[in-house]
Assembly symmetry: C2
Homo-oligomer: 214 residues x 2
Amino acid sequence: MQLPSKLLDDAVQAFAALPGIGKKTALRLVLHLLKEDADKARQFGDTIARMREEVQFCSQCHNVCDQDKLQPDSPPLCSICSNRSRNQEVICVVEDIRDLIAIESTDQFNGTYHLLGGVISPVDGIGPEDLHFDTLLQRIEEQGVKELIMALSPTIEGDTTIFYLSKKLRQPDVRITTIARGISFGGDLEYVDELTLSRSLANRLPYESYLVNK
Amino acid sequence: MQLPSKLLDDAVQAFAALPGIGKKTALRLVLHLLKEDADKARQFGDTIARMREEVQFCSQCHNVCDQDKLQPDSPPLCSICSNRSRNQEVICVVEDIRDLIAIESTDQFNGTYHLLGGVISPVDGIGPEDLHFDTLLQRIEEQGVKELIMALSPTIEGDTTIFYLSKKLRQPDVRITTIARGISFGGDLEYVDELTLSRSLANRLPYESYLVNK
């Protein structure tokens, strides 16, 4: 695809470098911005650049947070960690911010989070030293944490990460749990894979806990 | 979806305002940029803004073109219009730059283009005055154009646009043609709609013209 303008081509390349966006989609996005006012395109570009430059990461859980304008010199704390009404003794360990947002939108969890920044995956060259384990272990030591809820994807990598953490933990009184694995609400039994089905049979629960509205 | 940072939220909103990008995809793109260097995100933003501010439109065919650094004061001409080896007597009328790129990539057309910027569509409130008809009629008058190839989408709006132009044209010796409509190469006869099939029967051609490699 030969574009008649170098500027246009640069913009298409920039969009096409993003994940899941091909050259045709990139061209469609660029032509959309070309139809808009120049102000809007400038604003779009500035918003993206500003986000990357100014966004901060929580010094405690590694969640993103905005800079505190009242205390610019103190280590940044996200809105969840700085919320005194949330239970600091329960930490939900997640992979990244998308998982945090998913759990937050259930409105059912009142503890705090810890973002590992990924899971241990030798295939992708991600070892424990690339993830935020040290700050997690430090938090467990200092904050008197009672429970670690491992909300990682149910994959080999996720399980390896849970296993690694359980071996690293030197506090025997900290309970490590994982979110329940089983059949989704609205799921169809006949299409569920054998592993999930056999595990959900083995880990069966009293029927009262399955009711949606208790 | 509640995001923990205003900056992040702004960036997600900016991406989600683009066509075909929802909030979840926007968040994925933003998190990708967040993982990159700050320089890269700044460069991304600048590339987009610069494209919108500096890109020019050809004064003749309305194609996009870069500013001519040698002659900054002359009206901008795109690489196709300024190419002397292209036949200025044949103009291919297209809707927008995407159609131009599609035709250019066939490497079969040696004439020039004219971008209308859309098609007449009363439903969307687009009338003839919103499209680049005046410059087209002026070109036909001044350049001794012999043929207008209407390469518009085969829709009611496309046909209306062709009809409007044929009525507006005051030069009876200019030939107006449309690109052939019929069955695509590799298409399956049984799935072709009745209108296309009946038209392609009526407009049948000597078999030699169907051969791909003549």
